[in-house]
């Protein structure tokens, strides 16, 4: 990124979006405040004394408001991501690029960065003037302070980001005591740099060149999808006129060609050229055009949210196969996710046979096999489990130690020895099963099959 603006695919003209006020600007600002507020506050929210939302990567556990998910629960996370994607498709089919205009992190952070820029450098015309101006003390001071604030804000954003993956209280503590681990430090800078680069420099280029959603969102569109459109029939022929003039007498449409719709556009397009791939449906042009129409006493909505069908004078159908299909998929997947979460058995049980030897014969003549039982208590409270065996008669745990307490959210590896008298085992390999069951709740139970080996018996003739 340099002054020659030769960045990325097209020679880039720096865009200076003019500030807008109005209904949709209000909703976008609300989105920014709510979403960024959530982002920065959420890691600090506690739930039962623990961080409420923590994707604890070092401990390989995800905490979501009291629910603890383990790597074995990956299916839930996958379902959640599929649900998020379907929700996006559903809303895209209904209302176009709502996501881009109001909720996408790129939009939200860019808004904040532009707000900082406006506070320091002034409005659009002042920014343009400042950029054209030769470097002097004032310009260095203004540009320098803008970048310093951007960078500090970005690093704080990076810290918060890492705080979703390692406990944020510890992270802040080690930051203040200068004992931050190397990887945490690295990712704070990495995410901070990405924020600074994307929201400060790249801006609309992220949407145009880098965003996968922007590339495929048109696949969800049809003639009934809400889009932002300029009413050509009403606006053309465009032209400036005095407020008192009668446009009909001048042979003009309602568009006064003030170009404000272009000036407010964060991606620098002219909405009057029709629906374009670059349009992120932020509705800034709707707000500014309504303002102009109001000043001229013309009806609002020369640029407005509408559908292709309505523009052509046809009815807009909301319930259509595409929307119904996405809706049904969304509802059934949500049902599946909730059902499987509600019926999830919060215990994970694995059995690993000792690799070193198949069996051994103890001093008292018993045949012994060694196993490691891995019991993970994925519940929020401690559990006392009972270990039961099923296999040939006489198969038993050495020392009869058949109870094990596993604290909430812990994984315990328990080495056990199973033994049997040689005359009670007929074959050199038998399948046995080991069951762990909660001592009070018999439904909380998992069974694993494994093998028990014994020496081949030589029958004396």
């Amino acid at each position: 990124m340099n002054d020659s603006n030769s960045s990325l695919y097209a020679k880039r003209q720096k865009i200076y979006p003019r500030q807008v006020h109005g209904l949709y600007a209000f909703w976008r600002t609300t989105g920014v405040v709510v979403l960024l507020g959530l982002y920065y506050i959420l890691p600090w929210v506690k739930w039962n004394g623990e961080q409420a939302v923590l994707f604890d990567l070092p401990a390989r556990k995800f905490h979501l408001f009291g629910l603890t998910l383990w790597p074995q629960d990956f299916i839930y996370l996958a379902l959640l991501l599929i649900l998020a994607a379907l929700t996006l498709f559903f809303f895209t089919a209904l209302a176009g690029r709502l996501w881009c205009g109001y909720a996408c992190p790129q939009t939200v952070w860019t808004e904040i960065f532009m707000w900082i820029e406006r506070k320091i450098e002034g409005d659009r015309s002042k920014q343009i003037k400042l950029d054209k101006q030769h470097w002097n003390r004032k310009k260095i001071l203004l540009k320098g302070s803008k970048h310093v604030i951007w960078i500090v804000f970005s690093l704080y954003t990076g810290l918060t980001f890492v705080g979703y993956f390692t406990p944020i209280a510890e992270l802040t503590y080690s930051l203040l005591h200068w004992t931050l681990g190397p990887w945490e430090t690295f990712w704070i800078f990495f995410y901070g740099f990405a924020t600074y680069g994307n929201a400060g420099w790249m801006r609309e280029q992220v949407c145009i060149y880098m965003c996968p959603y922007a590339r495929f969102q048109s696949a969800m569109f049809d003639k009934n999808t809400l889009i932002i459109s300029y009413d050509k029939k009403r606006g053309e022929p465009r032209g400036s006129r005095r407020k008192s003039a009668d446009p009909k007498a001048l042979g003009l449409g309602d568009c006064v060609d003030c170009t404000l719709c272009q000036q407010v556009c964060p991606t620098g397009i002219d909405i009057r050229d029709g629906l374009q791939y670059q349009c992120i449906a932020c509705a800034a042009c709707v707000d500014v055009c309504d303002e102009v129409m109001e000043k001229l006493d013309y009806p609002k909505g020369l640029i407005r949210y509408t559908t292709e069908n309505r523009l052509q004078g046809k009815e807009t159908k909301i319930l259509r196969p595409r929307v119904i299909l996405y809706g049904v998929l969304l509802a059934s997947l949500t049902g599946i996710l909730l059902y499987s979460l509600a019926t999830r058995i919060p215990i994970q049980f694995n059995v690993i046979r000792d690799r070193a030897q198949l069996y051994r014969t103890a001093d008292n003549g018993m045949i012994e096999n060694l196993y490691t039982l891995k019991i993970a208590n994925m519940d929020l409270k401690d559990h006392l489990y009972r270990i039961k065996l099923s296999g040939p008669d006489g198969l038993a745990l050495r020392h009869r130690r058949d109870r094990i307490k596993v604290p909430a959210g812990e994984l315990i590896e328990l080495p056990v020895t199973l033994q049997i008298r040689p005359e009670q085992i007929a074959r050199p390999r038998v399948t046995i099963s080991i069951t762990v069951t909660d001592s009070t709740d018999s439904k909380l139970s998992k069974t694993v099959e494994t093998s028990f080996f014994a020496p081949v018996r030589r029958h004396a003739n």
Binding site: S6, S7, L8, Y9, L57, P58, R60, P71, F74, F165, T166, G181, P182, W183, E184, F186, W187, Y209, M210, P212
Partner: protein
């Protein structure tokens, strides 16, 4: 299309960005299935923290994706492009 028209930064970004996205997905899938502390335990990287292993894993995946995308770009060159490199006398 002549390759001269594309700015160098575009070529680099068009290789780096898709491999970044894929590396992210690959890292999640790989490390959900395998715990680095377990498979690194018998190696000389046993002391590496999980966060360190995830991070290095991510960059290795990125490198693999980068190499693959870069080769695609390289082999996309047409015969004419290659001939232009060695103009016949």
């Amino acid at each position: 299309m002549s390759t001269d028209e594309i700015p160098k930064i575009q070529k680099i970004v068009s290789v780096a960005w898709p491999s970044f996205l894929v590396a992210g997905v690959a890292t999640v899938l790989f490390f959900t299935s395998f715990d680095p502390r377990e498979f690194l335990a018998p190696t000389r990287f046993a002391g590496l923290s999980r966060l360190g292993a995830y991070s290095i894993g991510f960059f290795l995946f990125w490198l693999v994706g980068f190499a693959s995308s870069a080769l695609t770009c390289y082999f996309r060159r047409t015969c004419d492009d290659c001939n232009d490199d060695n103009p016949a006398d």
